[in-house]
Symmetry: C2
Subunit: 330 residues, 2 copies
């Protein structure tokens, strides 16, 4: 670290610098890719901005309606920044302003967007001192605070963009996968599914024959994405292990899935641990049809809901209006 950038003087903390980012929502547990495959979407996203502050430590300002903690140790973005600061000189201070637009608990990576957005923004202030893999490592501390588990399947696509594979978590091995253009329809029915409940409902053991079917499908899905084979993607979007258990927590799930496929969607499933559901389509027209039927289904069930029709975000955290003076490290 000493040889790269010694951030140890007020001079190198440019107090006029300001970084604004948009940190995208992400879909983890991509059907057969439970715990390992996730992707970023272009909407919704959180807005965040960060600057150095004169005193060491972290100040968090919430510019939204969610009343999230401002104590850095209790805020997922704070936890991620704290992990980053352990690898920086002790005189560094950050002021982070968060304008959350991804509703917490919706299952589309709200905590990951906060954690990943914060460290990606801070890293820009630090002239990209850290690698993307470092950023994932730091942001995973936010996930640990949120759910008790250091998982990376939302964090990685938020940082890298596109579809990412977490081949292994210890040691961390992230594989960025190319994907053809895909339209994503998301419905967030306003019910609560706790990640801890969604975890505890799963069996610790599964049938080997089901596991084989699952890894045949994930292999097909990866091949379909890399070869831009929409039909193969569609055939591979099958989860015989997790979805049958978890989908019972989400009213309307079976209807949404069946009708979406009848309307031409390639397939989809539970986003993260729910309650949001996502569907992939080859065309915008199909994705809009899917949105309509989702709305009809949840109107029929009398459940409040939000829907999004969006596309895969290939860049990850976006930098907007950054005021940074590029400087050569001394």
């Amino acid at each position: 670290m000493e040889n790269k950038l010694a951030i140890n003087s007020p001079y190198q903390m440019d107090f006029s610098a300001l970084v604004k980012v948009e940190a995208p929502a992400t879909v983890a547990n991509m059907v057969c890719g439970f715990d390992v495959l996730g992707f970023a979407v272009n909407e919704p996203f959180d807005k965040m901005q960060i600057r150095f502050k004169e005193t060491p430590g972290i100040t968090i300002i919430n510019d939204d309606e969610y009343n999230l903690p401002t104590d850095p140790e209790k805020n997922v973005a704070g936890a991620a920044l704290l992990a980053m600061m352990e690898e920086l000189p002790s005189n560094i201070g950050f002021e982070l302003t968060i304008q959350k637009q991804i509703k917490p608990g919706s299952g589309v990576g709200s905590s990951a967007a906060s954690s990943a957005g914060a460290v990606a923004a801070a890293n820009r202030l630090l002239h990209n001192y850290f690698s993307k893999e470092d950023l994932v490592r730091f942001a995973m501390n936010g996930e640990k605070l949120a759910s008790g588990v250091k998982h990376a399947d939302n964090i990685a696509p938020c940082i890298y963009g596109g579809v990412t594979l977490i081949r292994s978590i210890f040691p961390l091995d992230i594989v960025a996968l190319t994907a053809p253009p895909l339209f994503v329809t998301i419905v967030h029915p306003q019910i609560e599914v706790k990640t801890s409940d969604a975890r505890s409902i799963l069996q610790q053991k599964v049938l080997l024959k089901d596991a084989i079917r699952q890894w045949g499908n994930i292999a097909g899905l990866v091949a379909g994405l890399l070869q831009a084979d929409y039909a193969l993607i569609g055939r591979s979007l099958e989860d015989v292990l997790i979805e049958p258990v978890r989908s019972i927590l989400i009213p309307g799930f079976d209807q949404v899935k069946q009708q979406s496929k009848e309307a031409g969607a390639l397939g989809g499933g539970i986003s993260g641990s729910g309650p949001s559901i996502f569907m992939l389509s080859e065309t915008h027209a199909t994705a809009k049809k899917v949105e309509e039927l989702m709305q009809q289904i949840y109107d029929g069930l009398g459940l409040d809901h939000h829907t999004y029709v969006t596309t895969i975000n290939h860049s990850g955290v976006r930098f907007v209006d950054s005021l940074i003076t590029e400087q050569t490290p001394s």
Copy 2:
């Protein structure tokens, strides 16, 4: 069928036609791709030739030392041809000569080579009346005769060449995967491992966390193959479920694997259900080094063995010296 090619007259059975093929050995259960990923190699291979005969039915001539059954219902090539003939007019007759070079029971797809080679050769006589997928379907009957299970993970690479994914067996869904140049070292220690024993030793249930690790690895392996990323291929060649159980049936396995990786091999594992072991390398020099250490290990253990240094066969069953008069179907 009637509209494509009505093979119902002696005229269309060209008794002077002769098709000679080489049907390659194959490696199934490609490490983390248990039951779904396999690949074909250029050596060893079986030699076969087929011609129409004047009387209906199948005549099998064995031109080798193995004393395999000549009754078509008891011979894997016969079983495959019989399945094909159920979709042909009843007056068809084939004479098949088999010169087996892949030792039965070695774990490199000996039965698959016979079954796949026979139907591929017959299909050439029939002016490619059937699709490759049809051929896999027929040849699986040979596998059923050999092992009691209609599996396709040797048959598919033998027919298609390269690395193939059996995403699903019912319905059959075969995905041909591109792969970068790879050298393959195979050692066949002369011990018997019965497929039925290798199957019965497996637990019916596995830990979900192990299954997740396995599908992270197969996803990484497919991405590594399609993106020609040798390092990723190497990292992904890990099997936490099957190999730890089955490798105890193969003396020397751990030594072969460890020393091969130390010598620079990307990785490898049990071929099929054993006893053969395969290792993948990026260069011919490494593959040769791996062969030497395999020989040293089995010499040290006092076990007879054969080794092969070969490459991935990208064409599947090869057609050599075919005497066919191309004719337009009447």
